[in-house]
């Protein structure tokens, strides 16, 4: 959340509509860095809307349909009228992502179907009364009386917590709203009347699994008693599988519902879209290097399946990049980047000279040029402009070629280069893809591919290339097109001749494709790649995948790491005597066995603390336990107990048992 709030802190208003978004780009952003940040933020928002669009649309349709079928008076719908329409919305186990979906669903429903929408969460509704209260409060916007609070001061507007109150309120509400709307034309009014006279009352159960089945059953059976007066509709948010509904509700209750299933895209598909739109594109200058990508993707796959967390990780990387890399000022659109190069200060230029990729570049130049680059600032700026342009060109060809390679290899059996494009992208980020063994085998397999499949995938490739803008790609596109034409031409003859010519043709084809390889070297080989690529995977990992145990141990064994107090540092890296009490107690306890004698521990502690106080070791009182030391010791021991390092034992009352091992 910290990243999120940072964004909100940065900009006074959060762009809400598309119109405002474009304007805000021009107006609010003075600093190129902040421009970048707004841009990704806007992009993410749009993306999120897009991701859920399909399922939300179908849900809206469902809601509209339900409210209209209720108006029908034919025999069949009359016979079915006592069922509560219910949408079972299966969203997958990535619970943190759901909030966003529900929020947009809530807004959409409110906007286009009915003003009466409420969403409830399991943790607020432990008992039936609380659930009713939530529903009533959410819909009627008044305080609801639930009898058991201490707040005895009677709220004059508070109402009784029962569904009949709601139904009375609903009847009153719909009567009032039925009168206006006379200015519309007849047909429109007719439609509107139907719609607006009895808008459905939608109750969203965000996390069905969490609800107490008993509460839910009772609630549903109460609701079904009012269905003739109150056009209710439920939406169940399900994280696991739809069969949960049957586990939770007995037949007598589920027969009151008319459940329709809505399955959202799987979270891996969501991730694929996000990666496709944000990462595998040249239009956005900020990039992640292989390791950071790897960290983010493995957090996703191994830990949470949460697209939202992935995006947060991306945002974190973005912030860190702009925060820690001074040259990130060049990480923006082409024109601004070229402009910013001219604005670089002497110190910035010095940083450029020290970039590893730039040093490599310089080493390849002639001697005279080398000197010029290292001394002449203006010359360096010119060179930088050229390098930035090169980097952009590299990106422009990298992504289309990557996609082509993926379309070709994703057909192959057992996916030598990965099933998903992100896997291929990771391979390419790592090292030269063509040196990879899997690449070799993929190419061999490709040569054995059936002709039809090859042609279809080549067609796809040419589609990809056709949308690319750079010159090289256009050239490649025309070549590929020619080849495809030749193929077609040959097709007629192929039937007469044997397979041999077609094979040779395939070979030729592959040979033609191979120049594409030169577009896929890893970004590390590009000069000035540091400008655009964020590479500190350790930071990202530390922030996103925290290890509380390790942090506690670090804090205890080397307090200076967190306190940043030089006096706590010892030369040999051990804990100094003047460290906080708990650190000393911790260090002493590491020297003990499974059972620790408390008195011995106390004495050792007193000795260390006396030394820290600068007492004379030969003095009588040295190492003596006084009340203050005793109290401090007891406190640190109980802190250690709280942190789970020790616990008291029943075997020996003056001993504690140690719970952790290692770390000595």
């Amino acid at each position: 959340t910290c990243v999120h709030s940072f964004f909100q802190g940065c900009f006074v208003f959060k762009p809400s509509s598309k119109k405002r978004k474009t304007r805000s780009l021009g107006e609010t952003c003075v600093n190129p860095k902040s421009k970048n940040i707004t841009w990704i933020y806007v992009l993410l928002e749009v993306l999120q809307e897009e991701l859920n669009k399909k399922i939300l649309d179908s849900l809206l349709d469902f809601a509209k349909k339900c409210s209209t079928t209720r108006q029908h008076c034919d025999w069949a719908s009359k016979m079915r009228a006592n069922e509560i329409p219910t949408a079972a919305l299966v969203l997958g186990v990535n619970v943190p992502d759901h909030d966003m979906t529900f929020q947009s669903l809530f807004d959409l429903l409110k906007h286009s179907v009915t003003p009466h929408v409420v969403s409830v969460q399991a943790k607020e509704c432990g008992v039936l009364k609380h659930l009713l209260k939530r529903v009533l409060e959410g819909l009627m916007d008044v305080a609801v009386d639930d009898d058991d609070e201490e707040e005895m001061e009677q709220n004059p507007r508070s109402v009784h917590c029962s569904l009949s109150t709601l139904s009375d309120w609903y009847t009153a509400k719909t009567k009032v709203t039925a009168t206006p709307g006379k200015k519309r034309n007849v047909q429109d009014e007719d439609e509107h009347h139907h719609h607006h006279q009895t808008p459905p009352v939608v109750i969203i159960f965000k996390d069905l699994e969490g609800f107490n089945p008993r509460v839910l059953q009772d609630f549903i059976s109460i609701c079904s008693r009012y269905i003739d007066r109150l056009p209710l509709m439920f939406i169940f948010g399900i994280a696991t599988s739809p069969s949960t509904v049957q586990h939770m509700l007995p037949h007598s209750v589920s027969s009151l519902l008319c459940i329709e299933l809505f399955q959202s895209l799987s979270c891996t598909q969501h991730l694929a879209t996000v990666i496709d739109k944000l990462i595998l594109t040249a239009q956005f200058p900020f990039k992640l290097n292989g390791k950071v990508m790897q960290v983010l993707i493995s957090i996703f796959l191994y830990h949470d399946f949460s697209v939202r967390n992935f995006i947060k990780g991306l945002q974190l990387a973005l912030l860190e990049h702009f925060h820690s890399q001074p040259l990130s000022i060049l990480c923006c659109k082409k024109k601004e980047a070229l402009l910013n190069v001219t604005l670089l200060s002497g110190r910035d230029l010095e940083t450029v000279r020290q970039l590893p990729s730039f040093i490599r570049f310089v080493e390849k130049q002639e001697a005279g040029e080398q000197v010029k680059l290292m001394t002449d600032d203006d010359h360096l700026k010119e060179a930088c402009q050229k390098l930035i342009k090169d980097l952009r060109k590299y990106h422009k060809s990298y992504y289309p070629v990557l996609r082509c390679l993926h379309t070709l290899t994703s057909l192959l059996p057992r996916y030598p280069l990965g099933k998903q494009i992100r896997e291929l992208h990771l391979i390419c980020l790592e090292k030269n893809v063509w040196e990879n063994e899997d690449y070799q085998s993929a190419m061999k397999l490709l040569k054995m591919l059936a002709k039809d499949e090859l042609i279809t995938s080549l067609r796809k490739c040419s589609e990809i290339l056709s949308s690319a803008k750079s010159k090289k790609m256009k050239k490649a596109f025309t070549e590929l097109d020619e080849l495809l034409a030749k193929f077609k031409h040959l097709d007629g003859k192929l039937e007469k001749i044997n397979d041999i010519p077609s094979l040779t043709l395939c070979y030729k084809k592959i040979e033609r494709l191979s120049p594409c390889r030169c577009h896929l070297p890893p970004p590390e080989s590009q000069t000035l790649y540091e400008v655009c690529y964020y590479s500190s995977s350790a930071t990202v990992r530390r922030h996103l995948n925290a290890t509380p145990r390790t942090s506690i141990q670090t804090a205890l064994s080397s307090p200076c790491f967190y306190l940043q107090n030089e006096s706590l540092k010892n030369e040999d890296g051990t804990v100094s005597n003047s460290a906080p009490d708990i650190c000393i107690a911790y260090k002493l306890h590491l020297e003990c066995g499974r059972l620790i004698n408390l008195y011995d521990w106390l004495e050792a502690y007193a000795t260390v603390v006396s030394a820290a106080e600068g007492q004379d070791p030969d003095c009588d009182t040295f190492g003596k336990v006084d009340d203050v030391k005793h109290a401090r010791f007891i406190r640190s021991v109980s802190e250690l107990e709280f942190l789970g390092f020790i616990k008291s034992t029943r075997q020996k009352t003056d001993h504690v048992a140690r719970l952790t091992w290692g770390g000595c």
Binding site: R80, A88, G92, L132, I222, E260, A546, T547
Partner: protein
């Protein structure tokens, strides 16, 4: 029969005091509420209809009763969280102003829920007449027999009435009444006959049958609308609808498929059964480590803790199952159900089953709690207890086998029951 008694009781002499409480029981959809509702409406009797499931607190019940007898203003005198005696006092006060001209009735549906309410509520309701000194009768409707209600402290015995289940003929008669306006009543009646022929052996619930009748009638009429068959050719109609009803028995009846979907299915005439029922979707996608956590939890729940060494220590030597066996462990652990385990044990097993080195990061722990929210694990100890929480694994063997198959883990090898 019971209806006659009821009507007699109600009609005899409205001014006279009636029996204080009547207890009516019968299965679901045997007409209890309906009969009473009609009776009260037709005879215009003063009554309060209350559903116990709706009265989350006794206060609501009191409010309903007072409102329906004396109007809204009377109920507003009720204090917050009123006690029974306050209700009685208020009732007596109101009664003195507007005494009953004829018997007042309180009809309570789903009375079985009263057993979970305050202990004094049910006995008090049974003799409410005596308490409020008014001509009032409380009618309790329940699906459970009176014997299960009787509190052990004893109480006033209500008048018992039983609504028996409908016979096949009665069902036929009742169902035939909702005939479709555009078809003749005879046709609908013969349709009901066919429907009962298929469903009567599995379902006698009037509401369900009615629902099924409504859903399948369109299909039944299809040959008629197409003009292939005449209304009188019942046999042909039967041939047409019978397989269809059988299919309905497997899907809509058990709510595998919702009625809306069923109708759509009929319209599109999808023979391949493209529509999958709710229980067909049991697959749950989980993050990689969550899968292993779940596997570890399953093992911890179904293996005795003593055997962990045998499964997870590399050089455990040969320990035979017979050496382990304690007397009570001869029965399968799977029959006994999952056992609780501590977090430590779960993590220990997790680290030994997962094939790579995993850092004990915060996300591992948060995955455990998300598994709890997904109801795949249940937390036994109270959520307030932070120290050494205990869990149980609440998934089936089939589920865990499917999960472990996706990560190439042979779970059966690690289960004590299958050694």
């Amino acid at each position: 029969m019971p209806i006659n008694t009821l009507v007699q009781n109600v009609r005899a002499t409205p001014q006279h005091y009636s029996y204080p409480s009547i207890f009516i029981y019968g299965h679901r959809a045997s007409g209890k509420s309906h009969v009473l509702h009609i009776l009260m409406k037709e005879l215009e009797l003063p009554h309060a209809a209350v559903s116990c499931v709706e009265c989350v607190s006794a206060a609501l019940l009191y409010e309903r009763v007072l409102t329906s007898f004396f109007g809204r203003s009377a109920a507003s005198f009720l204090p917050r969280s009123p006690s029974l005696s306050e209700f009685v006092r208020l009732y007596r006060h109101q009664r003195s102003q507007s005494p009953a001209e004829q018997t007042r009735y309180i009809v309570m549906e789903k009375a079985e829920l009263l057993r979970d309410a305050d202990a004094n509520l049910l006995p008090a309701l049974l003799r409410l007449q005596e308490l409020v000194d008014d001509n009032i009768t409380v009618i309790l409707l329940s699906e459970i027999v009176w014997e299960k209600f009787r509190p052990n402290t004893g109480c006033f015995e209500p008048l018992l009435l039983h609504f028996p289940d409908y016979s096949k003929g009665e069902l036929q008669q009742i169902l035939s009444t909702d005939s479709h306006p555009s078809y003749s009543a005879e046709l609908y009646s013969s349709y009901i006959n066919i429907l009962l022929g298929v469903f009567y052996s599995v379902c006698r619930d009037l509401r369900e049958l009615r629902h099924l009748a409504a859903l399948n009638f369109n299909k039944f009429c299809e040959p008629l609308t197409e003009g292939k068959v005449k209304e009188t050719e019942t046999h042909k109609l039967w041939r047409n609808i019978e397989p269809h009803l059988k299919k309905a028995m497997q899907t809509v009846y058990i709510r595998e498929v919702s009625s809306l979907q069923w109708e759509q299915m009929q319209q599109t005439e999808d023979e391949g059964g493209a529509l999958r029922g709710l229980s067909a979707h049991t697959h749950v996608e989980l993050p990689y480590y969550s899968k292993f956590l779940l596997i570890a939890a399953y093992l911890a729940s179904y293996n005795p803790a003593r055997t962990d060494k045998r499964f997870f220590v590399k050089h455990h030597g040969k320990i035979r199952k017979t050496n382990f066996l304690k007397k009570n462990e001869k029965t399968s652990n799977h029959l006994l159900g999952p056992k609780p385990f501590a977090l430590d044990r779960l993590l220990a097993i997790f680290y030994s089953v997962v094939d790579s080195r995993v850092a004990p990061t915060a996300s591992i722990f948060s995955q455990i709690s998300s598994l709890v929210t997904l109801q795949l694990l249940t937390q036994i100890s109270h959520t307030d207890q932070l120290d050494a929480p205990k869990y149980k694994c609440s998934i089936s063997l089939d589920f865990i086998s499917a999960v472990s198959r996706t990560v190439n883990f042979d779970i059966v090898k690690y289960l004590y029951d299958f050694l």
